[in-house]
Symmetry: C2
DNA sequence: TAGATTGTTAATCGATTAACAATC
DNA sequence: TAGATTGTTAATCGATTAACAATC
């Protein structure tokens, strides 16, 4: 006999493709209202502008809990709120960044994160020339202090922008100190214990898609 | 009656997930041989280290044309070559970068691209203080010269690291001048004519996956 | 009302995973 | 040989797309 899981433990898993599309709608809708005030918008309209299918937009919005009215569409402001709520972007989460090279510095200076509820509060590096300085207005601390600081501040998100070589070791350090999610920009796949979240941001993967598609395109005579 | 497409026109479309995984194997194998010389490796071993399934690794490698020997595995050097070949990373493609803010500068300085056959030869910006200067050793030119330069140099890849507002207009300019593929780091979806490739690199999308997963994890009591 | 649009159930499609024969 | 591993065909799973009733 099948033993059904108790209802409380059934965590609805949201498909990753949906999660990735929600911010696209979000950015689109924000731009729409900014350009000129629009109260309602239909999935048809959204799908035309974003070059997708209306049914997909509808399905995606359904997941956020946004409700539309037949013939009228969705209230733009409500959809924006629904997405923010759904993704947890309405309250800020603090994060630490490890590695202040080119990419790390860029991430430190990226103003957009605050729109998405992310606040990088400090950066860590191993280079003595950088420790104690400020980059883009954020303090750079010694990576030796990382575990203690994670514990003390109860930080849950670590952004890893280190080179490939030390990446795994730094990840281990973070996890041991209590980090629950790692946003990994290092060009290697890192391993973490079960229950810890890793989001890999591999430029090489994206470039692979681009370069293969381009090669096939140019090969068509 | 069904009219089958002539064989020459059947372009085998490679699934995007496969293309995204190939660089992960590539980085892993490069690291393996760098750490200590290994001649052969099995899918079982790869899958254990990368925390995936052996069958998936085997299927992915099959697409690159790499061939293994039962009981022995694949020649590491051959797999590396096969991936490089398959993705076109064995010969260099030149690219222009548009937008030299934090992220654009970071991309200009990223040494890893040359491993993936990408060479950013120049950068473009609209800010008078930047034009004529060098950033990370690359010349910054006026964005007004972009169309002419694309045509003159026959550049096919444009990397867009501009703010949201001018992104679409810059994309149009690039496409008109002959760019065939745009790697878009701007936080908006851009529209391009059919036959032009766009690879969207939306940090918000990745962050959405991370923050939702983390929220669900922390919500589990 | 007529018809555009939502919400929902069903069908399709494609990627992942399983099964197993071939082989070194 | 025995058994690990590849290569290949089949089954499963999940996301996308289609169909259609409900509704404003």
């Amino acid at each position: 006999m099948v033993n059904p899981r108790p209802a409380e433990l059934v965590v609805k898993v949201i498909p990753e493709p949906v999660l990735r599309r929600l911010p696209v709608y979000y950015q689109y809708l924000k731009k729409i209202v900014q350009d000129r005030p629009v109260e309602y918008i239909s999935c048809t309209r959204i799908s035309e502008d974003l070059n997708t299918l209306a049914i997909q937009v509808r399905k995606d919005l359904e997941i956020t809990g946004a409700e539309g009215r037949p013939k009228v569409g969705y209230k733009v402001a409500e959809v924006i709120k629904a997405i923010e709520n759904f993704l947890g972007w309405n309250n800020t989460t603090e994060a630490y960044l490890v590695g202040t090279g080119n990419l790390g510095s860029a991430l430190l200076g990226y103003q957009g994160f605050k729109d998405y509820g992310l606040n990088i509060v400090a950066a860590f590096d191993s280079s003595p020339e950088k420790i104690g300085k400020e980059i883009r207005g954020k303090k750079v601390l010694s990576v030796k202090k990382l575990p203690e600081m994670i514990k003390r501040m109860g930080i849950k998100i670590g952004i890893l922008a280190a080179p490939a070589a030390p990446a795994q070791e730094l990840a281990n350090m973070m996890v041991e100190a209590g980090i629950k999610a790692i946003w990994n920009f290092a060009p290697v796949k890192i391993s973490v214990p079960e229950g810890i979240i890793v989001q890999h941001e591999n430029l090489a993967s994206s470039l692979a898609v681009l370069s293969k598609r381009l090669a096939l395109l140019l090969a068509e005579r």
